[in-house]
């Protein structure tokens, strides 16, 4: 006997745009690039665009579709990033979702006093410590701008602090091309050579064009250095509807797409096949507060569209997880974090970042990071869909247990209760009396307790003294040049 003509869903399936809508957005992007073009504040990039066949008029670059097509063709559809010690994996490929932290947050919520204060290097070390414990977090980041070091050198110190207690792939920013090279040198201390680092990158870089339609000097330097050394880079324009892009979502999607395509073109012309991660951020500016919204349904729609657009281009994509506009862990935070994670997962976005952020990316909180880990766990469970087969349909078992029986002691229950069930660490599942007996604790209190517990643990650094010395040497050299 055989069951035939079967089609099973491994996961939920979700789309917001039709093929024709995607095509219309892509076509509009091509029109923007050819008719309006972009402004480029970087000499090397202008030369590359010119040599590649773009039309140059001063610093205005107009890009014909044929060059765009070439860039889309040479960009890889698959990027594999591993932790610097070979552990931990971020696979950026069609419909593979990875979760991790975001890069530059100015303020930190103190885990003991809950006071909002500037981030310091010690916080970045602690973020690594907690991230290492979060089983659903695939990559880490500095998640802060350390106020206790000079701004021109922050990126190098962030790399050092963020890697002390965490060996997951590292996502970070670089101030300019020279700092980017120094960061590559720091990562090469592990890799052994540029060639090894190229073959198995352990870091991912974030940079961005200016919207509307501008490539800045330093950001473009970083883009081109990453291309040269084949370090994965995500280069997302931040389009705020009604402010740095049209108020209509379709128009802002088309513009952000054009900005990303222009960045991709110069990147691929510099070094064909270098790893590039697609990633516009299209959100609304709140016209009452001027905040660039991370929460709410508008950005959810653009992220859903982004998933489909990048599947159309077949290029790895940037995404979001656990983001909120709330300045504290409250009802708004829970609501926005949950559905931002769910929608980005449903959209199949690859590098879902910003776990641990609050207040539209102005604040970082360790408790938010721990909550994010739990939200991701729930979303991952949902995304695993429903397994339907003979064993899971369990008709033999149902027949065996029969009316008024119990499934509790059955082997099937032991085998599946963790896989088919889901168990939170922080959410309450006790009835109110048992809950009251244990002090009526809220999620916030349990998150705080866990954060304190991890911070108090005496874990050895994952960096050897020799490595530390090599890093300090690289940092000292860069300091000297800047002096």
């Amino acid at each position: 006997m055989i069951r035939v003509n079967q089609k099973f869903n491994k996961t939920p399936y979700f789309e917001i745009l039709s093929e024709d809508q995607i095509d219309a957005i892509h076509s509009a992007s091509l029109e923007i690039l050819e008719r309006t073009g972009i402004r480029v504040h970087n000499e090397e990039a202008l030369e590359i665009f010119s040599a590649g066949g773009a039309y140059i008029e001063g610093d205005r670059v107009r890009i014909p579709p044929v060059i765009v097509k070439q860039a889309l063709k040479s960009a890889p559809s698959r990027i594999l990033v591993t932790g610097r010690r070979g552990k931990g994996k971020v696979l950026l490929e069609r419909n593979v979702v990875n979760y991790g932290l975001g890069t530059d947050v100015p303020y930190h919520i103190d885990p003991y006093t809950h006071e909002i204060r500037p981030t310091v290097l010690k916080d970045i070390e602690n973020i690594g410590k907690v991230t290492q414990k979060c089983e659903n977090i695939d990559f880490t980041s500095n998640s802060g701008l350390a106020a206790d070091v000079r701004p021109e050198m922050q990126d190098l110190y962030h790399y050092k602090a963020g890697n002390i207690y965490c060996d997951k792939p590292f996502f970070t920013t670089a101030a300019n091309g020279e700092n980017m090279k120094a960061l590559i040198d720091m990562a090469t201390v592990f890799a052994g050579s540029y060639e090894n680092l190229r073959k198995a990158p352990s870091l991912i870089i974030y940079g961005e064009p200016f919207s509307p339609l501008t490539l800045g000097k330093e950001a473009t330097e970083v883009l081109l250095v990453c291309a040269e050394y084949k370090i994965p880079i995500v280069f997302p324009p931040m389009v705020q509807m009604g402010a740095t892009g049209p108020m209509t979502l379709a128009g802002s999607l088309a513009q952000s797409n054009a900005e990303t395509l222009a960045s991709l073109v110069v990147h691929q012309l510099k070094s064909p096949g270098a790893p590039f991660i697609w990633g516009p951020f299209v959100g609304m500016m709140d016209m009452r507060t001027t905040i660039c919204c991370y929460g709410g349904p508008v950005i959810m729609k653009s992220q859903a569209a982004l998933g489909q657009i990048t599947r159309f281009y077949n290029i790895p994509t940037f995404g979001f997880a656990c983001v909120t506009d709330s300045a504290t862990i409250d009802v708004q935070c829970g609501m926005e974090m949950m559905w931002s994670t769910l929608i980005n997962a449903l959209a199949g976005l690859n590098l879902c970042h910003d776990v641990g952020y609050l207040n539209s990316g102005l604040l970082f909180s360790l408790e938010s990071l721990l909550l994010g880990d739990e939200i991701i766990s729930a979303v991952n469970h949902f995304m695993n869909g429903i397994e339907v087969n003979e064993e899971t349909l369990a008709t033999d078992l149902i027949n065996k247990v029969g009316p008024e029986g119990s499934f509790l002691s059955e082997e099937n229950t032991i085998k599946f209760f963790k896989k088919e069930g889901w168990y939170p660490h922080f959410l309450n599942r006790k009835n109110f009396e048992a809950w009251k007996k244990e002090g009526s604790k809220t999620v916030n209190q349990r998150l705080e307790e866990k954060a304190h517990k991890i911070l108090k643990e005496d874990v050895p650094p994952l960096i050897s003294n020799d490595t530390m010395k090599e890093w300090d040497k690289i940092i000292a050299e860069r300091e000297k040049k800047l002096a």
Binding site: L408, S409, I414, K437
Partner: protein, 211 residues
């Protein structure tokens, strides 16, 4: 001094073969059956109970532990002195008349068994007279009643009244549980104890038996 660490691990893993072999090993080393029962098996199940309460163990795992513990009891019990044969205590449980909800009561029964109590589960939809009959017949230390419906929970009070009428009330401690039941209700019908969920029901029974 015999160590029961490996036995405790076997109980916690729900591995009956480890439990059996560890008990036989302890007996060969000259350990007394009573010592194995109290320090080994019951001690291990207390750890299981604590881990369950703290959310570190899951119900199916606890039931597997209870099962493994029982395999151990089968070896140890015949070797006990008569005075120790009684075990920790006897509990009669059942869901009251008009109510066929079973699973909560059954979980409490499993956990009590797993902690070394003898449990007689009367089943569901148990009439008052049947509870009285069971108390007379089995002479339990504890009578546990369960109800899931607000319309049937009042039958618990009626059973207690029947115990009083029959002159049996002082012979047995009565505990009640189920979703609509709470501490206040338990007091109002004259029960001796109430627990909001299965794990604390075991603690409650231990406390009442010791008092």
């Amino acid at each position: 001094m015999v160590s029961y660490d490996a036995l405790a691990k076997g109980v916690m893993a729900g591995d009956a073969s480890v439990v059996e072999s560890e008990i036989n090993k302890a007996l060969n080393e000259g350990a007394e059956a009573r010592d194995i029962l109290i320090k080994g098996l019951i001690g291990s199940m207390s750890i299981v109970g604590e881990r369950f309460r703290d959310g570190d163990m899951f119900l199916p795992e606890v039931l597997a532990s209870a099962d493994a513990m029982h395999k151990g009891l089968d070896i140890v019990t015949p070797l006990l002195a008569d005075s120790d044969q009684k075990g920790l205590g006897k509990v009669v449980i059942g869901t009251v008349e008009g109510d066929i909800h079973d699973i909560g009561k059954r979980i409490v029964g499993f956990l009590l068994q797993g902690n070394g109590f003898e449990v007689i589960d009367l089943g569901v939809d148990i009439k008052g007279e049947a509870f009285i009959q069971a108390v007379k017949e089995h002479k339990p230390d504890i009578l546990g009643m369960s109800a899931l419906l607000t319309t049937t929970m009042t039958n618990m009070g009626k059973v207690i009244d029947l115990l009083k009428e029959g002159g049996l009330r002082e012979r047995v401690k009565v505990i009640v549980g189920g979703a609509p039941v709470n501490e206040e209700f338990a007091k109002s019908i004259g029960a001796d104890g109430y627990a909001p969920e299965a794990g604390s029901a075991v603690e409650l029974v231990k406390k009442l038996v010791a008092s």
